[in-house]
Point group: C2
Chain length 587, copies 2
């Protein structure tokens, strides 16, 4: 690993604030900062950590800073012999944290005169499932000299896929003996999730497994560090990671039972014992900031630190989630988040339904598409061999095309299908090419395909009695690509809103911090006060809606033919090609 050399990203807050001021929807901007209270949101993404200082009264963002993780390739530790492996250094997390908080506070002081005593709470979101093996003092195993060179001793990043065999074994076992476990996570347990990864370590590296005391999710590890929790069993765990990734559910007494885990491996039940306490929602405190960390960060000691949650979930909070609203965190992939006040039935193909995972007192629903921005980038970069400028040009030209005029249809499965098919082994498809088909037409067909994929998720959720009235998007694509937004409005036949904040995950984390500090009586009032949408709303164009309704029938026909197991002979096609590929490449 290279020595940490922090590269500070652009903060962009000054520009953001300028933009915010011109956006009338954020009407409370410009008022006095004297006596105002602020919360800090810490947002750990895949490649960087960001801090955001937010006015708890109105959501005004007055300081931000971002740091890229210095280790490995863009912050990720890779193994050239195994493309499934993706690990991170917990040291990167901790060092980055100090830098971004200090810098964000400096900016908040400069721009709004914010002083440390005005910061009342702190919240954290992270990627996940990203479990970290720790010792009995809650220290990552990679800090021990004997494991320093062992990648299994580091954080197992969400996108690590080394545990695909274990995932299949867990799915098999649960199907047979604990179908209720699977019902809550869409029917398939993923290689990206907690138990798959822990079991994989147990299978391939029993020495490390035996040496580790517990496995702590990153979303729980960071708050525990800030609060000085020195024993893994004292770590307050968030229900977000536990419920969505570790089959935690109060209905069956929390974590999966010991008998089930032992059936997978005799030693696996031991892991359960160390994380057996009930998991909490984000309105709970993970603890209070230690004097040591307060000094390092320039904050008051003892301020509350909220229970952690996943980035997408707090992104939904920062986007103003409420009943009837679906929040789409649109990036390389999407996370689709909802919160329902009443009990939600098991929805086939939807990744997770967890009580309290998004909002305390609500059932959190998580769905998503495995690739969205990634598909556009793949086409522009790999096929057209272009850059961002070309993407802008293609978008410009694709805007002039009429829906349905290309005769093309794509399936948005270049990275598999997360919801509703829960099948990472599916692949992309494009049909309808003639000798005149242009790359602009293909680019637009790919945009449309992701919109049809999004509609399929919405339809599935609504089929189970949960109406979706409006869609709020956040993430770069939704802010930058108006064609994307209009196509979605037309395909989904719903108004499409964009979250006012450009840092919704960090804003959500700050809201959790505000809530943990008691700055708001309820999550609803915190969201009402601190979030909003941009003035620009994309509304369906009736003529387009009609064409896309016809095109969706075609999409769904392909979707079911290629995606629904055993439907017709072509269902085997994608798997068969992957099988031949694996054989040919000897993998």
């Amino acid at each position: 690993m290279a020595a940490p050399t922090w590269q500070q990203g652009k903060t962009g807050i000054a520009e953001d604030m300028k933009k915010s001021k011109s956006d009338k929807s954020h009407s409370r901007k410009g008022q006095s900062h004297v006596g105002a209270r602020y919360a800090v949101g810490l947002d750990y993404g895949t490649n960087s950590v960001r801090a955001l200082v937010v006015n708890v009264a109105n959501g005004e963002e007055v300081g931000t800073a971002v740091c890229n993780y210095p280790s490995g390739s863009e912050g990720i530790l890779l193994d050239p012999r195994d493309h499934n492996l993706a690990r991170q250094s917990p040291l990167d997390y901790v060092k980055g944290l100090q830098q971004v908080v200090v810098d964000a506070l400096k900016q908040a002081r400069h721009l709004a005169g914010v002083t440390p005593d005005q910061i009342v709470g702190l919240g954290v979101d992270t990627t996940g499932s990203t479990p970290i093996p720790v010792d009995d003092q809650n220290r990552p195993m990679c800090l021990r000299p004997e494991f320093k060179k062992n990648l299994n001793a580091y954080a197992w990043l969400w996108k690590d896929h080394t545990a695909y065999r274990e995932a299949a074994a867990i799915t098999e076992a649960a199907k047979k003996n604990r179908p209720q476990y699977l019902a809550k996570c869409g029917g398939v347990y993923s290689s990206e999730w907690y138990w798959s990864k822990v079991l994989h370590c147990l299978n391939v590296d029993p020495v490390l497994f035996d040496a580790a005391y517990a496995w702590i999710e990153m979303e729980d590890y960071i708050p525990a560090v800030l609060c000085g929790v020195e024993h893994p069993e004292a770590v307050v765990r968030g229900v977000c990671a536990a419920g969505h990734k570790a089959m935690y559910n109060p209905r069956w007494g929390g974590m999966p039972d010991a008998e089930f885990l032992s059936s997978l491996h005799p030693k696996l039940a031991r892991v359960r014992e160390r994380i057996a306490a009930p998991a909490a929602a984000i309105d709970h405190q993970a603890g209070r900031l230690t004097a040591g960390w307060a000094a390092k960060l320039g904050l008051k000691p003892g301020i509350p630190v909220a229970v952690g949650a996943f980035d997408a979930h707090l992104g939904a909070v920062g986007s103003g989630i409420k009943t009837g609203t679906l929040v789409k965190i649109v990036g390389t992939s999407t996370c689709d988040i909802m919160a329902a006040k009443t009990s939600v039935p098991d929805i086939t193909g939807v990744c997770g339904i967890v009580e309290g995972s998004v909002l305390p007192g609500y059932f959190g629903i998580e769905a998503g598409q495995s690739a969205v921005g990634d598909i556009f980038r793949w086409f522009v970069k790999f096929i057209c061999q272009g850059n961002d400028r070309l993407q802008v040009k293609l978008t410009e030209e694709a805007r002039a095309l009429k829906p349905g005029a290309s005769g093309l249809m794509a399936l948005d499965w270049n990275n598999g299908n997360r919801t509703i098919l829960v099948d990472p082994q599916l692949t992309g498809l494009l049909v309808g090419m003639t000798l005149h088909t242009s790359r602009v037409e293909i680019y637009r067909a790919l945009l449309e395909a992701t919109a049809f994929g999004a509609l399929t998720i919405i339809n599935r959720i609504e089929e189970y009695g949960i109406p979706i009235e409006r869609v709020v998007c956040c993430g770069g694509i939704s802010e930058k690509n108006d064609l994307f937004m209009q196509i979605y409005a037309d395909v989904l036949n719903r108004p499409m809103y964009i979250s006012r904040s450009a840092q919704t995950c960090a804003l959500g984390a700050a809201i959790a911090g505000a809530l943990a500090a008691g700055a708001h009586p309820s999550i609803e009032s915190a969201i009402e006060a601190m979030t909003g949408v941009k003035k620009k709303v994309y509304r369906p164009i009736p003529g387009h809606v009609a064409v896309y309704r016809e095109l969706y029938v075609v999409y769904k026909t392909l979707h079911d033919a290629f995606g629904v197991s055993g439907a017709v002979p072509v269902t085997r096609v994608m798997k068969e090609l992957l099988k031949i590929k694996a054989k040919v490449l000897g993998i």
Copy 2:
């Protein structure tokens, strides 16, 4: 129309001869030319006409010249309001003829000392079905001042698709009342063919139709001009065009019967009367060269001119067709030609089976793929926005990929499917893309898709009891793209040969000329003496054959699902997309 300004193409004969000399398989090269006899082959392609002077004893090519047609866009008269329309000026044909023969003879004299009295015969091939409306003196209607501006009075080029409604009507009527007519042409009558075009003219331009005396195929028109035939009913018609494109068959007394034609339009039977004489194979004479043409061309008056045939059919002759050999004329599309000594059953989906159409005394079988080179060019030019250099680079890189390693599969239907589905409304498909799929992988998948399409044709013909032992290719792609050839060898699991001549169509025409002149006792001996294959043979690589065998199952699954009407719901997908496209664009 622009005034004719002849652009002479590269002849390339000197280089070809150098190449031929180094090719040991063409062993009789270098012998004395004194006293040798030669035939001239005239090859009318879509954009140009070529003449070739060939030694009848050994096929040595001693002179060639090519001229592009000067009118319209690359020789084609277009209508900007109707992209289906494609016409040509018969004047271009006649003027070009003079130029190329004179130039080719000049070269033959220069390179081999050939004198006019050494030229014993002349043969002609043309595109088709390319019917020309003529008056009662066999003059194209476009030569009359009143029709000079009427595109219907010109030659209706093979790729003119204005008659698609008439084609459907003819297919319908034949299905109902004359199924035997359809059985010989693959079950569907095409908009590119004779009766569709004549009927379309009758429907849209009755004035011209009434003014015209007859409709003569280009393959019959050119020999008639050279032989001074001044009445349409005296034109000797080739069985190639008549049998493959005009439902001619001695079994039902020649052309389709008057009752059937009258059911399509009362006036259509009249057309039949003017072309009612039996059609002939290429061993027959169309007549003898007039003194006038002999003077213009620098040839002896009275030398025999062979009955004309289509370019692909004489290309097969020039490639050395014989029992058990399939000749592939590989270009933008392919024509697949076979000749069988014994009676051939009706083969579902094979475009045409006509006695005497390729070789006298054999059943000619014509099949083909609607797009081959066109698909590669589409991908390179439209999607990658590259030129020939990029195609060379992609070929180079694709060579390094292992069969099956990309996980991709394509359907080669960007221009519909001619054989075996006979459905121009099918479109392209690509499946298996991931976020890592490269354009080289897609390029290779497209090469492979055309090979799988070729295998489907071969399998269909063999299913009907006609074994195919070897495949001989001609055309630029087969000479230039060794990866293409190797993939075909591996997919077809047969040795792939390349025709020795680079001008196989013109060589075939010269062979017809030699035969008409009695220079050989039989077509077999003429082919034996005058044709050959290159030394380089592509042989199947067993490891590749095994992988492609598995991949072909996948191709065939997609082929049947999307192409065989009513098989599964996805069969509707391509048509549905085209329907939506037509509606959206108002076409």
